[in-house]
């Protein structure tokens, strides 16, 4: 039986997330799972006619959870690198984000070249897009990888443990309102060639699930659900009142 059959038979779609990444997936003030990816996977479950089960792990637990069969889908703000794709199968990117460099307002960095210096320390999230990009575009800077969500990097910046941070701009913009106004700014020029993809991942043997997810995104793009989700979670901040 295919993986999809199994899901339908058991009546439950299991998704592994890391709840440290607003607005993608996080725990809201009521203690519930919420976020853009949660809504998407809920949509998938509805379309399959099964229940959604969200499994929440630390970053370290995500991949093992998928590989060991705890979860069917890995839904994280994860970049599909070629090396990673040797072990898991990534769906087509469902969104492209733009990594950015952010720093304190007072700091003098303006361009990428200002940051790409040996004396500059840059904070990133372990295993995130930001980490991959930062290593690629800021080879001279000192990179420190944090765990525990995008806020950790911002917090490390305000505490002075790093001089700048690299993360996708959405994640940064989301947390900015929580810090004193105008204390943190984003460098104007985004990092990288263009936008960077984020993708869901499944086990290599789940070929039909992989196809199904691609088809799902095709469908919601066509019927406008995709745009609604993105508008609510990514473009506006209304969700902050609800969650």
């Amino acid at each position: 039986a295919s993986n999809l059959d199994e899901i339908v038979k058991r009546g439950e779609l299991r998704v592994a997330v890391q709840s440290g990444a607003a607005p993608y997936a996080f725990v809201d003030k009521h203690g519930n799972q919420a976020g853009s990816m949660i809504d998407f996977t809920q949509g998938m479950a509805d379309a399959m006619g099964v229940k959604l089960k969200v499994l929440d792990y630390d970053w370290d637990g995500l991949i093992p959870a998928l590989l060991s069969g705890k979860a069917d889908i890995l839904a994280a703000d994860m970049t599909p690198t070629l090396k990673r794709a040797l072990k898991v199968t990534f769906t087509d990117p469902w969104i492209h984000v733009q990594p950015c460099i952010f720093t304190t307002t007072g700091a003098g960095y303006q361009t990428l070249a200002d940051v790409n210096k040996p004396e500059v320390t840059v904070g990133v999230l372990l295993g995130s897009t930001g980490e991959v990009i930062a290593k690629k575009y800021l080879p001279n800077a000192k990179i420190k990888s944090y765990k525990g969500g995008g806020r950790m990097v911002v917090q490390a910046l305000t505490a002075g443990h790093v001089d700048a941070g690299v993360n996708d701009d959405l994640a940064v913009l989301t947390v900015l309102p929580d810090f004193p106004p105008n204390s943190i700014r984003l460098l104007d020029k985004r990092l990288g060639q263009g936008k960077d993809p984020l993708a869901f991942a499944v086990r290599p043997d789940s070929v039909n699930l992989w196809q199904w997810i691609n088809l799902y995104f095709g469908t919601v793009r066509a019927n406008g659900d995709y745009a609604k989700n993105i508008a609510y979670w990514m473009d506006g901040t209304d969700w902050k009142n609800d969650h």
Partner: protein, 217 residues
Amino acid sequence: MMAFYFSRLVEIFPFFLTGLWMTTKVAFISLITCTLIGFILGMIRASNNVLLKRLVGIYVAFARGTPFVVQIFIVFFIFPEWGLQLEAFPAALLAMAIMGSAFVCEIVASGINSIPKGQWESAASSGLSKMQQLRLVILPQSMKVIVPPLVGQYVLLIKDTSVVSVIGVMELTRVGWVTVVRIPEGLMVFALVGVLYFSISYPLILLSNYLERRMAI
């Protein structure tokens, strides 16, 4: 500013209580299982059966020699490959039981070994079987030596439950982490986490100190 923090605190507090409840649940169940298994293993470790002793020794070495986070990964993600697929909560309990019982085993074994040989001999001389010697004469006495460090170990085990957050059990530490993502007062959040841990650990520490003093007499 204080009022602002305070209202934040009030807002998040119920969530923390659910975390505290989960921590207490994991801790309580695993303390009991660790104690039961640990006592059995400890008796084996203090016995004369060389083979069983060795086996338990290897087990203890693994459980004490590797970080708990590695053990919990093995239980949760590698055991499935051997056919044991567990949900996060039971997996957390199993991992705690594996790790904790090794520590309890060592405490029990050294407690049993602390009883002078004469007590064994005296019990043996009156014709009691090996099991009876252990149950009626040795264990009741070694409790004096076992209980204070055991309670101390309980405190360590309670704190070790914080590690089960890596497999998604929503206990106190995890509540702290997911809360930090939403509100920026990291220090306040972790102060609260610390205070809540303190509130369950410290009474046990006091108990341990008290028992130590009482048993010393």
